[in-house]
Amino acid sequence: MQFSFTSEQEEFRSILRRFFDDKSPTTTVRRLMETDNGWDRAAWQELNQQLGLTAIHIPEAYGGQGFSFVELGIVLEEMGRALVCAPYFSSTVLAATTIVNAGTEAQKRELLPAIADGSCVATLAFTEPNGRWDTGGVEMTATRDGGKFRLNGVKSFVLDGHTADLIVVLARGDKGLSFFTVPGDAPGLTRRALKVMDPTRKQARLEFVSVEAELLGKEGGAAAPFERTMIQAAACLANEMVGGAERLRESALDYANLRVQFGRSIASFQSMKHKQADMLVEVELAKSAAYAAASAAAEDDPDLPAIASLAKAAASDAYMQTAISTIQIHGGIGFTWDNDTHLWFKRAKSSEVFLGDATWHRERMMRAWNV
């Protein structure tokens, strides 16, 4: 397992940090979060054209850059830090990873290059209104119709589901669970943006009425690649979350240093110093777990399922607790709309739950370790 970043990786991180400082200030985050789409196609193209981020972990054979989950983790950590409003987690992380894991060779060659170059924004529709993160919650049906399939049912909590060009759908047929691909504008598909607590990451409800779909990968063969995708995605999300947590921690420290009460900087009060020290411990420990998970994903470590769940559980707790503490340190101003803290607080809340909360992942970790 890798416990430090190479100098190239450190350099990559500092380039990203400068780029996102420039392209995703909170004025931009606030502008985009008020839109229905939640992201801007021109800015998305820039993300891809200047830095090739949409291609980062997609293999070179399919038009990607062929980097590992460690580099993807760095991108996500920096995006989480800057709260970048873009369909990156949906398209690059969830959809592309599913296609890599499940698709046939021909399908990877057909689908991945467009995701890699950013011209196609894809997403993965796996959860349903029952809110379950495992395959047991999948009720959507797939029925054979000649060479194609027809999908019926409802998907929910689909990241960027109302704006994606391509939707990868998990559904149940005669032979069990299969993945399918559906164009975003397919006839019979009704897409509705959900009112989400975290407006920087949009979600949609997708209703399928006899929607024509292409099989992705093997019929009835989705369970294993889905499991693998969820594990890798949990490792990815943990890295995104610790980026946000660190940004919050730093903003709380900046504010404490600035604020004067009782004739002295509030940062000189021991209650504040101890709180900040505890926040640092919590964030650094969660970062270590997230980095371990990214490294385990890159090496395809047999212990990855446990480590990814551990990292997601740690990040869920640490991000949320850091958000709560950051608001507390800001006092009244921290509860206002004008102060930026709530933007990260809401991302912390939605990420805490998305892909399974800490309790759910702790149980998965225990199973992975055969306890």
Partner: protein
């Protein structure tokens, strides 16, 4: 010198000189003369002047052939490092070699009943009377004082200057009538530490380290080495299973020095026992227990990975990041969480101890030893001060003890 030349040189030297039939002290004298015993020390004082990064290479070569090193365990290492930095040539001559051979053992007389976290508040008094320093006061938490030959003593030589300016640092002979050592029984039943009563105890003038009034600077050196070697306690106990006179002598030395530390694994919480204990108790299927175990494992794994990040950065010569300062506080959290989980798993048995307790009392020992980890070597609160001030750059609290003669600073009634 680079890694390869160091490796080749130490390997050749060991091949020519290392034998298991030496006596321990005899061998260590040979080793000290060669410079390979303390290779990072200066050439003038038993070393080779190697950078710290290359010391690991020397250790590896010693381990490869099972060669015994200089005496490492206990306070003697801190004494040697402190005297190397601040001692007079005569002090170095008198003490360094005998500390490295293990002939002299040491203790650290810093903490007092009235000054724990605030070490610089020491009130033990050293007064110059004729050709002697005469010491009166009380020290506490003194590991190994009962068999130490020498003590590192922090004492106040001037009550009329500011707190940190009135301290001096001495080497005191522990074998004298004015030094009275009493074991201090802890809540876990062990007596790893001592109280040391100093009543007109005498110190020779040539055993003052650095100058009168500069004791705090010397003590800071000792404490820095103590923090740096905090991990060392775990390694000290490792004794070779080798056969031969020298190994027997080393094992006997270790048994004495390590005696006070035998409950330290329990103090750290024994996370390693949790899963087997849960299975043995048949509670590993209980969802609440599973959650608590998982929280503990998440914490302890994350802490372990954080330590490895810090080590990896150190090996690469990168400046230390925040991850390097969190270990002590993180291990307190781990230990407390482990004690909670062990209690949960133990159920009613957690009320029992000794041979009636789980695992012959080991679990009970965990439960009553864990509180020490949050106190010894810098309390959790002091760690948080250090982290917030040195890592996060937050301001110190306003102080009321530095701007006046120490005599006028409020003190505890004890000490």
């Amino acid at each position: 010198m680079n890694e390869d030349t160091v490796r080749a040189e130490v390997r050749a030297w060991l091949e020519a000189n290392w034998r298991v039939d030496y006596g321990l002290v005899e061998w260590r004298n040979i080793l000290i003369d060669s410079g390979w015993g303390v290779p990072t020390w200066p050439v003038d004082w038993y070393g080779k002047g190697l950078p710290a990064g290359l010391a690991a290479v020397v250790d590896e070569e010693f381990a490869r052939v099972g060669a015994v090193g200089v005496a490492k365990a206990g306070i003697r290492r801190l004494a040697a490092a402190t005297l190397l930095a601040h001692g007079t040539p005569a002090q170095k001559e008198q003490f360094l070699r005998r500390s490295l051979t293990g002939e002299d053992s040491w203790c650290q007389l810093f903490s007092e009943p009235g000054s724990g976290s605030d070490l610089a508040g020491a009130t033990t008094r050293a007064e110059r009377k004729g050709n002697r320093w005469v010491v009166n006061g009380q020290k506490v938490w003194t590991t190994s004082a009962h068999h130490a030959d020498w003590g590192l003593l922090l004492a106040r030589t001037d009550f009329d200057v500011a707190k940190h300016q009135g301290l001096s640092y001495f080497i005191i002979n522990m074998h004298q009538t004015g030094v009275d050592v009493h074991p201090l029984r802890q809540m876990n039943g062990h007596a790893s530490f001592n109280q040391v009563f100093l009543t007109d105890a005498e110190v020779l003038p040539e055993h003052l380290v650095l100058d009168v009034g500069r004791g705090w600077a010397v003590a800071t050196t000792t404490l820095m080495h103590e923090r740096r070697e905090a991990d060392g306690v775990r390694n000290w106990g490792r004794t070779s299973a080798g056969v031969g006179r020298i190994y027997d002598e080393e094992r006997a030395e270790n048994a004495t020095v390590m005696e006070p530390y035998k409950w330290y694994p329990q103090r750290a919480g024994r996370v390693d026992l949790v899963i087997e204990r849960a299975k043995a108790a048949g509670v590993n299927g209980d969802p609440v227990v599973r959650q608590e175990i998982a929280k503990l494992l998440t914490l302890s794994k994350s802490a372990e990975w954080t330590a490895r990040r810090a080590r990896a950065a150190q090996m690469q010569g990168k400046p230390q990041g925040p991850e390097g300062s969190l270990g002590k506080l993180a291990s307190s959290h781990v230990a407390r969480a482990a004690a909670r989980v062990h209690t949960m798993i133990g159920g009613a048995d957690a009320m029992l101890t000794g041979e009636d307790g789980a695992m012959g009392g080991v679990i009970a020992e965990i439960l009553v030893s864990v509180p020490a980890g949050s106190i010894a070597g810098g309390t959790d609160e002091i760690q948080r001060n250090i982290i917030s001030e040195r890592v996060l750059g937050m301001p110190k609290e306003p102080r009321t003890d530095n701007d006046r003669p120490f005599r006028d600073v409020p003190k505890n009634l004890v000490g």
